[in-house]
Amino acid sequence: MHRPLLPIAIAALLVSPLAGASTDAEIAELRMLIEQMKSQYERRIQALESRLAQAELAAKPSASPDASATSAPRAIQAETRPMTAPLASPAVTDAPRSGLEGVSGGDAFNPRLSVILDGNYYHDSHAGEGAALLGNAWQTASGGLDHAHDHAADEDHAHDAHAHGTPSNGFNLREAEIAFAATVDPYFDAALYLSVDGDGHVELEEGYVQTRSLPAGLRVKGGKFLSEFGYVNKQHPHEWDFVDQNLPYLNLLGQHGLQDTGLQLTWLPRLPIYTLLGVEALQGDQERFGATLDPTQQQALGLGRTNDGPRLWTAFAKLAPDLGVNHALQLGLSHAHNSQHQEVQEHTHGHAADEHHPEEIEVHRNGLDGDADLWGVDLVYKYDGGGAHGHRDFKFQTEYLRSIKDLTIRSSAHPEVVGSRRTFTTDGFYAQAIYGFAPRWSAGLRYDVLGLTNEVSGGRQEDAGSSDRWTFDVTWNLTEFSRLRAQYAYNSILESAHERERFDAVYLQFLMSLGAHGAHAF
């Protein structure tokens, strides 16, 4: 684009003395301009020469390294003196790239590919059932282990309690995450995340496109993705600071969190502090929050069929004041609404034995449907200690979730309750802190609790308390690409309203990152 300028500038220089109107200053400026262009052209010619030399080299593959070293004129070597250092490798030179820069470099037209291997040794003092129990802690609205999702009727049990993140005692390969990401064209970026579990079951974690050239700070994402509800929801398991997910997310949203198919719109307005506003319209196929039953159960329980999507709507706002280079704080407020939620609640009646009948237990199933709301508040604070490899870095993270299900009983063995409304409210929070106590080493402490509130409307309080847990871990980042972690947790989990399990759980985890450099998200 500068090429036509050179002749024009020269012409101008030649013409201007004739015109007689030019001053010395103008001449000096033009001279400088030409000097500038000259030096630019020299650089380009050097680049071309060195490229030519490389091309010549490539054309003579049989040449010995010594011969090629002497035959290849290194345009730049006159400028960069060779190293006199005994250990330094010789200064290999290369032509500058074409000016189409890219920090991500190196992948040409192929998508960036990365693989994360995530495996562990796990042991708990609850006969290996502890990890499954963590995600099925008792809550008022739940019918215990027989959960709302169509898991119960699933013929393919690949996806039941013992998959994706719920380990058994002993060795587990939690997942191999395979990620592809690329810029599609000037308008779109796209990414695909596949998760392969230890049994070889493949699951699509995310597959989405996202705009890159909308004006006014707008971005649109479409496809299957992790919702930006809250803070930890959009993190993949290998990004967590602990091996396992916190109790409120596990129990209110399920193993996968809010992972759904739909559209997201975010807006980054021109405000003095970072403010991100977003809304999402999602299909609503959820494990926990706004789950629907399968058609057989719907029919058996007198519940309506699953409505057309989108059924799940979210809105979120994130705020981050500027606290200088060493501190970072982000506050978030999120809301999600699912227009359809169905669940089965089981209760039992014990009939005491009398002279005519032996003791028997009768199981009653109530079918409920309605809608569900979820509120989330999050706070993340990070301190950059400036030490080597995360030494003295500190991170504090906390979130509060509150789920409110507004349901109507559609069918029951007790006809008098059919048609009556029940509102089930369950909440929970976690708070965790991570500190880099040495270069490459960090320690973390987490407290999480589910069911500070367990309420059913109509004054029917059946609060049996809450499930909680203390977790401690130590992480060793050998390099940017490998990570080893040891974690201990003391769990106090309600198995049912009257039964509390207290158990210890230990993880030894490895996380390996292969391929493209991972992104350091906040």
């Binding site: 189409l100 920090v103 350091h520 906040f522």
Partner: protein, 298 residues
């Protein structure tokens, strides 16, 4: 109530950024070196925000919300490049929803891409550490390369802001002249420099420019901490000769101090980048510090 809130929000939205709009170009630089370059070339026509403090590892930063906010309104991003900021800058740029600064656009400038890089073509094998086949990215310590980068930056700024074109080119030439002026004294000081033991190959371009011997690196391969075996071997090789140990503030000082003590050499902690808010003068003074530290001990 809501209407009033919205009005307030709108007023706030429009009112913000006017300070930076006074400048013809809103520039975001990743490091203070790049910030100094932007100020040297752009002078009063640019408003510069620097994302990283000079004593931090540019390779290890996170894409913080405040960075994303700064990138949102930038006309030009100046990165060091060659994958130095690969962990956070692409993510921050993507999150900033600003089409002008996407890689490939005129508003995205990589310094290392403007010059010939060293250490290019290392096998892409991470058994050799955190290697980057695109080459050593730390071009900011070589004054001659920086003057070439300044010239390229002037052209880029001229393209984005044609009204200031003459000024940008003149400023880049001025920067080059100021460097020229100091070069002879630096060359003289470093002609008999004994050599340096670095932690990482991050001052390579400076050493290469002035022919200062690189006596070794404390880490055996990039991004992997020094091993006792490697340090022992270095000690055996270097015992008896003169030299200096230099590390950056974000590299663990333990191994450098230990080596300096064993070898009887001085040890310095020097940042790769000049202080915050550095301009051309501060950048040259920063190089002075490096030259002084590398010079033969009196």
């Amino acid at each position: 109530m809501i209407a009033r809130l919205l009005t307030a929000l709108l007023v706030l939205t429009l009112g913000v950024g006017t300070a930076r709009e006074a400048a013809a170009l809103a520039v975001v630089a990743t490091s203070t070196s790049m910030g100094a370059l932007a100020r040297a070339v752009g002078a009063e026509r640019v408003g510069v925000i620097v994302l990283a403090a000079p004593d931090r590892d540019l390779h290890a930063l996170q894409a913080k919300p405040t960075m994303i906010r700064a990138l949102r309104d930038a006309d030009l991003v100046i990165a060091v490049g060659a994958e130095l900021e690969v962990g956070w800058l692409p993510l921050a740029i993507a999150s900033a929803a600003n089409p002008r600064i996407q890689p490939g656009q005129p508003g995205y400038f990589e310094a290392a891409d403007q010059v010939v890089r060293l250490d290019v073509g290392i096998p892409a094998d991470r058994a050799l550490g955190d290697v980057h086949p695109a080459g050593n990215p730390h071009v900011n310590l070589d004054p001659v390369r920086m003057s070439a980068i300044a010239a390229a930056l002037a052209e880029r700024m001229a393209g984005l802001d044609p009204d200031g074109a003459a000024g940008y080119r003149a400023n880049a030439a001025g920067f080059a002249a100021a460097l020229e002026q100091r070069l002879p004294s630096w060359q003289e000081r470093l002609a008999s420099a004994p050599g340096v033991l670095l932690y990482h190959r991050d001052a390579l371009y400076l050493l290469d420019r002035f022919g200062v011997p690189l006596l070794g690196t404390l880490e055996e391969v990039p991004g992997v901490p020094p091993t006792a075996r490697h340090l022992k071997r270095l000690t055996e090789q270097l015992r008896g000769r003169a030299g200096v140990v230099i590390h950056t503030p974000y590299q663990s000082p333990r191994a450098p101090r230990q080596m300096a003590q064993i070898l009887g050499w001085p040890v310095y902690s020097l940042p790769l980048d000049p202080p915050a808010d550095a301009d051309a003068q501060a950048y040259l003074d920063h190089l002075d510090r490096w030259v002084m530290s590398l010079s033969p001990q009196p």
